[in-house]
């Protein structure tokens, strides 16, 4: 199986769970075990769009209990004799091999998956800076042997891309250090925030320079953050920024700010 596989380097590994639970899109080649009419094929395939029950296959990395997964779209791209090329858009954790097996059962002729290529997971598509292992090894060679980092810099994206799909909150300079030590975020630390935050949402916390500080769970919705002067905005779940990059909040700074009327 080939296609889009986001790779997280070093500290980016911390946001893998956030990057994984996103909608996926595949191109799959199904081989039918006998010919079926175009109409029958379309009719049966249509039945698999929506919520389906699926038991993970024998060879899988999760518990094999019956699960409900949502198939967002199935588009038949081509159908020649026993070959069917299709584009499938699904929830995470859907097994395409199993889906195709089940389509074959309902068609009454049997089917199996011959080829699979992932074309999208979350924000990562074939068009977003996708590279091959070969390209990467070239970039690494240039960097190690020629001290030329241009390609490597271009191929590697900053961690912030991995949270592009989350609502974002920007916090002030003095709120960064506490949050990077795991503290909750309080209203006075907030600069700017997404208008569509709901309580319980997974959110991404950013510095004024748009560096990712942490992943957190919202304890207020956007209107509450806007209207309140104090209180807890979010509970920090996963810290990405190392402590000590931004200044520590001290009584002295607090007094200086008060004196300056900030």
């Amino acid at each position: 199986m080939s296609g889009v596989l986001p790779i997280a380097l070093e500290d980016s590994v911390k946001i893998i769970s956030v990057m994984t639970h996103t909608v996926k899109e595949y191109i799959a080649l199904m081989e039918l075990h006998s010919n079926v009419s175009e109409n029958k094929l379309r009719e049966i395939v249509e039945m698999f769009v929506g919520d389906i029950y699926q038991r993970p296959p024998l060879r899988s990395s999760v518990k094999r209990s019956l699960r409900i997964r949502k198939i967002h779209e199935i588009e038949i791209l081509d159908h020649v004799e026993r070959w069917v090329l299709m584009r499938v858009k699904t929830d995470p954790g859907t097994y395409i091999r199993k889906l195709i097996h089940d389509i074959g059962l309902l068609l009454g002729v049997g089917a199996h998956m011959r080829e699979l290529r992932r074309i999208k997971t979350g924000i990562f598509t074939e068009d977003l800076n996708m590279i091959t292992l070969h390209q990467l090894s070239e970039a690494v060679y240039l960097y190690n042997e020629e001290k030329d980092e241009t390609l490597l810099r271009k191929y590697v994206m900053p961690i912030e891309y991995g949270v592009a799909h989350l609502p974002k909150i920007f916090i002030n300079t003095y709120a960064v250090d506490p949050v990077s030590r795991g503290a909750q975020l309080a209203v006075p630390g907030v600069l700017m925030f997404d208008k569509n935050i709901r309580r319980g949402d997974l959110i991404a916390i950013f510095t004024p320079k748009s560096e990712l500080v942490a992943i957190a769970r919202a304890e207020m919705n956007s209107e509450e953050i806007l209207s309140r002067d104090k209180g807890i905005v979010s509970t920090t779940l996963r810290v990405i920024m190392k402590p000590g990059v931004y200044p520590r909040w001290t009584r002295k700074i607090s007094d200086e700010k008060a004196a300056a009327g900030i």
């Binding site: 070093e10 992932r118 891309y161 748009s210």
Partner: protein, 88 residues
């Protein structure tokens, strides 16, 4: 793909666009002190790798796990992970 940005606002608008978000914000107050930290697109290369993501076109054959291990070795990093296996 964009790799350099004018300021944090352009960067965030770009991320929100990629993430399919409307990019509408409430501004509660503004920061005047920009003396700390570094813009994500200006990190020196070691930092850029430490906080990096690669969108790999995985070849058929090796497992996602094997591919991640190769990249770890190639870049001489201590940790590399992949988002969502691509085996079955």
């Amino acid at each position: 793909m964009k790799t350099v940005f004018k300021d944090q606002f352009e960067f965030i608008r770009y991320l929100d666009m990629l993430g399919g978000r409307s990019s509408e914000y409430y501004v509660k107050r503004e920061e005047k002190d920009f003396s700390y930290g570094i813009f994500p697109w200006e990190r020196e290369i070691k930092e850029h790798l430490r906080l990096g993501i690669i969108n790999l076109d995985k070849p058929p054959g090796p497992t996602s796990h094997e591919v991640a291990a190769w990249i770890k070795k190639m870049l001489a990093l201590s940790k590399v992970g992949h988002a969502g296996t691509l085996e079955y």
